[in-house]
Amino acid sequence: MMKKEKDFFEKPGNIRLLKILSYICLAIIVAVDFFIPREHVYYPWDHIPGFYALFGLIACILIIVIAKTLGKKWLMKKEDYYD
């Protein structure tokens, strides 16, 4: 007999809770950057608090935009392309 299905993510309340928690995490991880000591600094931007947060966001968007553009304009073919 099948065990009871999990349905945690089906409830709007839970999703809302997760969203709030996620935003708190994002805020904390940027806030912490103002206080941590820098031991090994290789690049000037290493001194800017929160730089890597921006870096991550831009990197993510950049990858998606580059890939989707390449895909739509050139690389993506119908599934029977080689048949």
């Binding site: 999990k6 991880i29 941590i36 690049y43 870096f55 990197a59 990858i63 989707k68 690389l75």
Partner: protein, 592 residues
């Protein structure tokens, strides 16, 4: 016995055993190999003589031992994952594949290396074919052909190298001269460096559920091993590696098949290792070695997770999956441990290995390389840690109600998960095995915070752009286009212009020429007359044309006519006499 030969000779017994005995035997092989590893002594051992060359089957140092350990551990995990298979063909192929990978790892000379290199290519092909679909059959053939090409490049390089240096020793090589470039091509083809990368993303997703787990571990990582051994500090590898890391990430965006997405991330991750080899400092080489070790475990884990989904649902496309967390929460959890490891989250294995390579790039002030590797890190989490699990286990409810994967699969994934976390939490277990002298401390406040910033804000980007990120039911062109479409263009060329030319040549050589000759020899004298008249016709003015044309027509109508031509004997005698007189004259003049 060297550990590689335990698997290779051990494969012979597999078809003779049945049921529980065979299952126990399969698990015994890696255990035996592990003890064999523990008892190996540093230096060169198991030296055989072959046609005047020394074959070194066990060159033991810290570098070969590191790869030896992880290969044997992965063999154990892989056999647990596939132990339910009744078909012994795949077990034999896997055993030969593992054995030959270990053979390459411990080979001290090029001949031994090449022999095991080729066994690897052949045995791994079977793991693709064993899926027994048309797609796997075709992809397996392409895989084999590409690897035969790479193997030949390697072989020619080895032969030239042996001819030039007189030595078969497999050690550090200067990257100069034809031999070293051919050997490098052979190596980087197995490492899936673009443009020699499409075989991987083409074939691995078509392999069997269990076969892909083995494939993900051995071929590319033996290539990383031989690169660390022979081409550390080769500058071209820095660029190839960084481009490769980025390329894998870009192509993974477009993948719809979950195992193809993971395959592109093998290319991306191996890119970090290749770049590390190119950077060539002690820290970078340690990073490549450590990352190979960690990668085998977490990538095996990810392929096991994706394989479990395919095994239970029969589906592997993001567009067809969704909502599986409801019935497969354990599989999801174990998969996510692999996902967090490859994404280099703190406390997971990738965090302590990948960062060594990125730091090594920063230390050498390779800013563009550092940038490419850092952006790719974000992309790794974006796909393996977010997109794949989100659209497989959450997103829409696809209506699939698959049960959890079988116990043996979950146990195998559990062991791999345990090791991923162990390395992440207690990195010294891995660092103590590293071959070079370089100290590195991954857990500094800044490293933890900055890594988390990149990763968490990547996640923010993912959820902001969520509606653009679902799988799309398309396939992506890659460099395999050149031999898939290229082969078709070639076949058209063969079937049309070449076939026309061939039929013409055939016609002329076997038809026109022989029949003309037969015609001509019936009466050569008449043929000569026709020929001379035809020539005359071309040269003469218009007034005589009609007459000559008439004559040629008559001659052709008469042909071959009466071939007995009468000439008086006297003329013949006269000609002979004249000829002899001329001969006599020449003879006397010569003497005088």
């Amino acid at each position: 016995m060297p550990p590689g030969l335990i698997f290779i000779f051990g494969a012979i017994l597999i078809p003779l055993l049945k049921g529980r005995t065979r299952q126990a035997y399969l698990l015994l092989l890696p255990v035996l190999a592990f003890f064999s590893l523990l008892n190996m002594s540093e230096g060169a051992g198991y030296i055989l003589n072959f046609l005047g060359y020394e074959l070194i089957l066990a060159r033991v140092d810290k570098l070969s031992m590191l790869f030896g350990y992880v290969f044997v551990i992965m063999a154990f995990i892989g056999f647990i994952y596939s132990i339910h298979l009744k078909e012994y063909g795949q077990h034999i192929a896997a055993s030969l594949y593992i054995g030959s990978s270990l053979g390459v790892t411990f080979a001290g000379d090029f001949i031994t290396l090449f022999i095991f290199w080729e066994i690897m290519a052949l045995s791994s092909t079977y793991l693709i074919w064993a899926r027994k679909t048309k797609a796997s059959h075709d992809a397996g053939f392409r895989y084999l052909l590409v690897h035969i090409f790479g193997g030949l490049s390697l072989l020619i390089g080895i032969i030239i190298n042996v001819a030039e240096t007189g030595s078969t020793a497999f050690n550090f090589m200067e990257l100069s001269g034809l031999a070293s470039y051919l050997i490098l091509i052979g190596f980087i083809l197995n490492a899936a460096v673009p443009p020699f990368s499409a075989w991987l993303s083409d074939a691995y997703p078509e392999a069997t559920v269990t076969g892909a787990v083995f494939l993900s571990a051995f071929t590319t990582k033996t290539a990383v091993y031989v690169l660390i051994r022979s081409f550390p500090g080769a500058e071209i590898l820095i660029w190839l590696g960084a481009i490769m890391a980025f390329y894998g990430v870009i192509f993974a965006v477009l993948a719809n098949d979950i195992r193809r997405l993971l395959a592109y991330h093998i290319i991306s991750q191996v890119g970090y290792m290749v770049a590390g080899v190119g950077i060539g400092t002690a820290l970078a080489l340690n990073g490549s070695s450590a990352h190979a070790f960690a990668h085998i475990l977490y990538k095996g884990l990810l392929f096991m997770g994706a394989g479990a989904v395919l095994h239970m649902t029969g589906k592997s496309k993001l567009t067809e999956l969704g909502g599986l967390y409801k019935t497969m929460p354990v599989t999801l959890t174990l998969y996510m441990i692999g996902g967090l490891s490859i994404s280099a989250f703190p406390l997971f294995s990738g965090f302590v290995s990948k960062s060594m390579i990125v730091t090594a790039a920063a230390e050498k002030h390779l800013t563009i390389i550092w940038l490419l590797l850092s952006i790719s890190s974000a992309g790794t989490f974006l796909h393996t840690g977010l997109k794949l699990p989100f659209f497989t286990f959450f997103a829409k409810d696809s209506g699939i109600r698959a049960r959890e994967a079988p116990l043996n699969m979950l146990i195998a994934m559990g062991i791999a998960s345990f090791l991923c976390i162990l390395i992440g939490v207690y990195p010294d277990v891995l660092y103590n095995l590293l071959p070079f002298e370089a100290s590195y401390a991954p857990y500094t406040a800044e490293h933890i915070v900055w890594t988390l910033q990149i990763l968490l804000f990547t996640a923010l980007g993912f959820f902001l752009l969520l509606k653009h990120l679902g799988g799309e039911a398309y396939i992506t062109m890659d460099t395999d286009w050149f031999y898939r479409r290229g082969a078709r263009a070639f076949m058209w060329f063969v079937n049309n212009p070449m076939a026309w030319l061939s039929s013409k040549v055939n016609n002329i050589v076997f038809d026109v020429i022989p029949s003309s000759l037969i015609w001509a020899v019936k009466n050569p004298y008449a043929v000569m007359r026709i020929a001379s008249d035809t020539l005359l016709l071309q040269l003469s003015g218009s007034d005589k044309r009609a007459e000559i044309e008439q004559r040629i027509k008559n001659e052709k109508d008469m042909y071959p006519g009466n071939i007995n031509i009468y000439r008086p004997v006297g003329l013949t005698v006269l000609l002979i006499t004249l000829f002899l007189m001329a001969y006599l004259l020449v003879f006397y003049l010569q003497k005088g």
